[in-house]
């Protein structure tokens, strides 16, 4: 992450920082969307970092060449990178199945505990099993997709394009999924599981499906992250950055709502990755502690939003299907952005000549 920190003194520096920042935010936005799919059926996944990590490692070991010298990792088949992405997504889904079988039928809270545990255990496996993934040395020299095709220093733009294209595809996918009968069933299960069951929905199956879809997307995000940063180690996938950070994005942006998830990623990402930029100009007593203060503020953001703005910046629109119109009083209150947009619309309507 910290390689993003470049001083913004020059125009080039500013452009480079922005491109890198947007790429990172796009990857985190994919994570937030994936989490949102799981959350939309009431799955409390506190182990985003685990799925993110599995995707990154799977794609990395499959696409890397065979290990040499001190290196010691499995696979190393040097397969094409997009195939690595595919396997990363599959690996995420497999992990979701393994975790979902014992926990999804039980109380909601058990899955939360199990997922927080799986992130910890995967990190400790990666760290301590010799010959699996280079232990704490991590994997290095992971190629970027199409990196060998690009001459000169323009590759960062390609990275950005890759991340954005994938983000758009994921956004399209989750939006379609949410708008489909399947997505409607998910919301029904979240809002009232008993009613959904009574309507003949196999809730365990639906929840497993959502858990797997989200996990696949998290695995994919991990793969993109690995090929983008070129180096990964167990330390990269901390609970703070890999899990809580993504939750903050979702809570701030507006849970249960895909636009909100992306907006949250941009806002929270800017706050997080932007802090190092102003570190230099802060007074010393604050500048030296800026990372802890940043962490404090992330926690504070979660609590403050839950208390005063539980629906996030962009509220989830309460709807059954686009074919059903709702009566007044059914809607959630407008978000800040909704209000601002309305005001703008009213103003422009007032200014335009009446015909």
């Amino acid at each position: 992450m910290e390689q993003l920190i470049v001083t913004l003194v020059t125009f080039d520096g500013a452009v480079n920082w922005t491109v890198g920042f947007l790429t990172t935010v796009a990857i985190f936005a994919i994570l937030a969307l994936a989490l949102n799919i799981q959350w939309s059926v009431g799955i409390l996944n506190f182990g985003v970092a685990a799925f993110f990590m599995v995707g990154a490692y799977v794609s990395a070991v499959l696409t890397l060449p065979a290990p040499e010298g001190l290196e010691a990792y499995v696979a190393g088949w040097g397969i094409p990178i997009p195939v690595g992405w595919l396997f990363a997504a599959l690996a995420g889904a497999v992990l979701a199945i393994l975790l979902g079988i014992p926990t999804l039928r039980l109380r909601d809270d058990f899955l939360a505990i199990a997922t927080i545990g799986v992130a910890a255990i995967l990190r400790s496996i990666a760290n301590s099993v010799e010959g699996l993934v280079n232990r704490s040395r991590g994997l290095n020299g992971i190629d970027g997709f199409l990196e060998d095709q690009v001459q000169g220093g323009g590759y960062r733009w390609v990275e950005l394009a890759i991340a954005l294209v994938v983000l758009l595809a994921v956004y399209w996918l989750v939006s379609r999924a949410s708008a489909s009968p399947w997505g409607r069933a998910l919301r029904a299960i979240r809002d009232n599981e008993d009613t959904a069951k009574a309507s003949g929905k196999n809730t365990v199956k639906f929840r497993m499906g959502a858990f797997m879809l989200g996990a696949m997307l998290m695995g994919l995000a991990g793969a993109i992250y690995a090929h983008r940063s070129g180096t990964i180690s167990p330390l990269t996938f901390s609970d703070l950055l890999g899990t809580f950070f993504v939750w903050t994005m979702l809570i701030v942006g507006g849970s249960g709502n895909h636009r909100g998830a992306v907006l949250g990623a941009v806002v929270v990402g800017f706050f997080w990755f932007g802090t190092p930029l102003i570190q230099e100009s802060l007074p010393d007593w604050l500048g030296s502690r800026v990372f802890q203060v940043r962490q404090l503020l992330i926690g504070l953001l979660i609590v403050v939003f839950l208390l005063w703005r539980p629906q996030g910046l962009l509220a989830e629109r309460d709807r059954v299907s686009r074919f059903v119109t709702r009566g007044p009083g059914d809607e959630l209150p407008d978000g800040w952005l909704d209000k601002a947009m309305k005001r703008l619309r009213q103003r422009s309507a007032a200014q335009s000549p009446r015909s």
């Binding site: 409390l44 545990g117 099993v129 926690g299 208390l307």
Partner: protein, 283 residues
Amino acid sequence: MGLTLVFGVLGIGDFAHGDKMGWGMFLAFFVVSAEGANLGFAGGRFGSLSFGWGLIVGLLVAMIGVALISVILERLVFRRLRAAGGGFFVFAIASLGISIMLRAVIQLIWGPSNFRYTPGIHPAIEILGGIKVKPDQFFIVGVTILAAVLLYWLLYRTRFGKAMRATADNPGLAEASGIDTNRIRIGTWIIAGFLGALAGVMLGLQAEVRFDAGFRLLLPLFAAVILGGIGNPWGALIGGLGVGIAQEVSTQWINTGLKPGIPFVIVIVVLLLRPRGLFGQVR
């Protein structure tokens, strides 16, 4: 035990419990360390134990401090969320946010280094059959048993405990029977805070004082609670012993680095075989 109490009575999986232990640890450290010495608390040792009055005062400060933090958080955060009709999800996420904040504040004040209550090496003494035990460890075991007995007495032999159990079973009904459920909740947080701080100080005594020690213990804690059956203090004690022993014994056969994975395996196995835990009651 504090965790299982909050879990059972309030229906909140308090993910911040580990960090509250961390606070207990550091508050006691504050009293024991140089800053405390200026206030006239340090010095002296009890027999072969590695600490003196400083730690006892520190323990009291820590317990009051952590209970205070818990009560403030209940007032500021959890009560409002409850009033807004938040479910388990909202509480869990809020407690995660709080956990991040508490840890960040510890780091802000004390920095990321490790500390010990008393510097130096404390030799272990031999008891029967060549087993070596540190005197401090006797103290820790004794305090744990004392706390368990006190908690049992409180829960099953006092009116307050009865009211607490009633609130756990059915808050609406408890309220209708004239129990001030808000007072019960505050009381539960205070007791959980006491226990958390106690555990934190004992942990600091046994190992080191680290900013993330509490958080690292979170998974074993939850594993102990699930193994013992949620909301059951005896279960939590036995579960804690079980998880701890399993973790230490496992190093005979597997890589030490995998030790943190043991609680997770226990959680999964318990969930598959007996989700209500060893001593869980059928409702």
